[in-house]
Point group: C2
Chain length 188, copies 2
DNA sequence: CGGTTCCTTTGACTTAAGTCACAAAGTCAT
DNA sequence: ATGACTTTGTGACTTAAGTCAAAGGAACCG
């Protein structure tokens, strides 16, 4: 994947960054390929990159009393980052690839620097962050439901997750035991 | 509270908005006073204002199966908004005053318009949203704990909440029944 | 191909937290 | 104060969901 491919991919995401600003964004992108299990972001470390998934999938999780608590999954076309990356804090979460993946990596510092002079880039950043915050609100809502309804909700809202994620990771994401998820699923 | 007072209050918040940009921000602020129970934002409505609490407190909640689920409390010096306000969507939540309050109201449209030419305002917006997103992450973590630990955590992290919020609202915020909270509390 | 190992299913039992019901204590207006 | 209303506390019981344990399946490797 070269600069041109990256540019096309970014354009496909329908952002409002165009023309010169887009060229400048592309200039802080690089294309990388990593294998299943690779960690994009690690708990406790500052991590200066954002990623865009071209191909593959990832999960984010933190450890609570030794157990993985999965907070989200990401697939093709989605932005992978944690709020810590934007804030410049050490990350609370680990982001790990579920499959071999092709990614566009963006250096946050460069990207933020661009936003100073390019209002369209600043807007893009705000838009991503607002979107992520709304997503987090939806997760809180999800967790407030009884477990069976959590599954039904995700079955409805993000059926693709069920195809690509292990029962163990999905159960952790839904905040229930693997056994409970297995039972809910077998009861159709 | 006049323009000058507003300016001083904003400066006290230590933002990086200064000089002319600050004057422009102040120009889209107005000062209002409302009584306990007033609703700053209502579920299902678009709401074009942000609020800064000068004096008083507020809670945000949504209804789930007829019951209030409280998502946060805000006190003096805090920004009150929902992500829907930033995104321009109808709100998922209702924000209601817990006490009579003095507030600075900011028109989001004006504020956003300012951010186009004032990078410092754009940064401030992003900063607020990032902060809110990190806060939402902490709520998700809170909800993943067993109920007793949730109470202990809040006792540790935000003891002022316990003084100013009813047991009913606190229980709803902590995702447990009033009875459970009452028992946890009486067991010290 | 057979043997590890990992992932999922199923069953029996436990437990954390909720519900229901009622009592006690506060708050407020007349 | 007195009574009406709201908020908080306690007890008995129920239930949703977790834990533990064992057994099938699928995928992985020499």
């Amino acid at each position: 994947m070269n600069q041109n491919d990256i540019q096309n991919f970014l354009q496909g995401l329908q952002s409002q960054v165009n023309g010169d600003a887009l060229d400048e964004v592309v200039a802080c992108c690089s294309f990388i390929q990593l294998t299943r299990g690779a960690k994009l972001i690690e708990t406790g470390k500052r991590h200066p990159f954002l990623y865009l998934i071209v191909q593959g999938s990832a999960k984010s999780y933190y450890l609570s009393e030794g157990k993985e608590v999965c907070t989200w999954f990401a697939f093709e076309g989605e932005v992978v980052s944690t709020m810590s990356t934007f804030a410049g804090h050490p990350s609370n979460e680990t982001v790990e690839l579920l499959e071999d993946a092709a990614l566009i990596r963006i250096h946050v510092k460069d990207f933020k620097a661009l936003s100073v002079n390019r209002a369209s880039v600043a807007r893009l950043i705000t838009e991503w962050v607002v979107e992520h915050a709304i997503f987090l609100e939806s997760l809180l809502y999800l967790q407030s439901l009884p477990v069976k309804m959590r599954y039904e909700h995700i079955l409805e809202a993000r059926p693709e997750i069920l195809q690509r994620v292990s029962l163990t990771d999905l159960a952790s994401f839904l905040g229930m035991s693997r056994e409970s998820l297995s039972r809910i699923r077998s009861a159709l």
